[in-house]
Amino acid sequence: MIRCENLEKTYGSVNVLSDFNLSLPRGAFCALVGPSGGGKTTLLNILGALDRPTAGRVVLDGTDLTACPEKALYRVRRDKVGFVFQLYHLIPALKAWENVLVPAVPWGSAGLKERAGSLLSMVGLAGKEDRRPGQLSGGEQQRVAVARALLLDPPIILADEPTGNLDRASGRKVMQLLRRLNQELGKTILVATHDPGVAGGCQSVIELGQ
């Protein structure tokens, strides 16, 4: 499902990833751990087609990202990957269900409103569809962000410190949700985290920056 071969990423003279190899099967639930600056976010950005490696090869669900032209990378982001960020990054003016629909706006979201509603129910936000981000707690906003990541039904979820901005209870709920997505929907999930508790709840752990 996810394969990295001899991956390298440098920013100027700083080598963030060096000769990194990874192979994750479909349905994996994996934690990425390591110190700050260890390359966790960089790796997620490369896997999510937000950034390019300096060298090496990345194959995502059969698509070779390194061979993919720049202008076609958005299709990978749209079809293969759902992103969950530490700071949620919801649009404040939009209601919860509207935020969930955002990924589909450029293609027309006909018929997806019901899906947005059912995704919000699935993440435990039934009845809060019409609330704006400012009217939701951090944990609830993060669950809206998870629902947004699921809208276009990507096979892979990349979560960058998804509990980093939440209290322990909210963080636990979010992780339970990701585990459910992995177990019930078969999503391949890669979670970057500092939290050993979060890493411990994953099937496997990859350490970066050693």
Binding site: T41, N45, A93, K95, V102, V105, G108, A110
Partner: protein
Amino acid sequence: MVRDVVLGRRRALFLLALKNVLRKKAVACLALLGVGLGSSLIIVLLSLSGSLNRNLDRTVSALAGKLVVSPRDALFGGIFFGSGTPLPPGDLATVRETKGVRNAYGRVSASLHPADFPDLVLPFTGYSPEEIQAAAGTPFAEVVRGRAPANDKEIIVGRRLVDTLSFLGRKLAVGDTPSFQLPDGATIDLRVTGVFQTGDEITDTSVAGSIGLARQLASLPQNDYSSLAVRVERPDEVLPVEQSLLAEMAKSDPPVQVVAPKNLLDPLAASTKAVDRLLLAISLLSALGSTLFISIIMSITVVERMKEFAVLKAVGWCGRHVTTLVLAESLILSLAGTALGLALGCGGALVLGRWLKPGVPAWPQLVQVAVLAVLVGTVGGIFPAWRAGRVAPALILHQG
């Protein structure tokens, strides 16, 4: 709004753009004002330019086929404040006998000095009873309010003069009996019996009355005239008749000049064209200013929303989608700004019209201004939209 996002991609994008516009009300108001004030200024300028041209055309048309014979020392060819050495009655007979002349009438020009404001000079023309009886187009035949004077104590005032005095804060209305100073220092009370409008802007900026009153005001001897108004048989005969009159009156005493009032307006027409060009330049500068203004406003919002655009790209949007979203926002702002500009511009033209009668520009001109304003907003949004579309999500999101 976005509840119905669901009906097609263009509509979904447009509704999201609308929602975004409404998010930042202060920014939206600034952009609206930028486009709105720019387009309203253009409308007001167009209105003024149209008014200048309309008035000039009307005046030129009203003066077609007319000549004025006046002493060579008369100001402005004798058609305005035209006093000079008086013309003897023999000159009128000579003019009437000249080939091509349909009729000719003696007139007397004078200046009216309001007793309470002697520095203000109002041009006064006295018309002979025969001209009042026979000729259409004189102020006496074009009274639009009140009635024509019936004696030497009554006057009528041109509509343009009434407007101009009103603009200067002085009222001269039908029924008023203002006092005027005579050359010997005495005063005379004259009753305003009506307001006239001939269409000739020069005449409409004057006061009219009987020739007897004019002689009294100008201290002119009985039977002498300030100028002779000549009408030719056909408008295209003005030039030959002018030549004939000059030949016939070559030895007149005092020496005379023959003036086609229409020709006197040529420099005015040239000035009007220059003013037109100036107004056009100001309009273009205004459009350019509005473009820069909306571009700056949109650029500021794009910089503020970099993270949002990065997220949109992270969730699957391509650069073109982000560009389209920002352009749509710019378009919405410029459409709203155009509506505001049309309202302000037409309102401004109407308010100005109370004094200067410019009137609201015609529909085709308003449509042109609207198209220009929408274009201005869209062009102003191009650079910020392009910038938004080029956001590098990894870099922006990494910066937190």
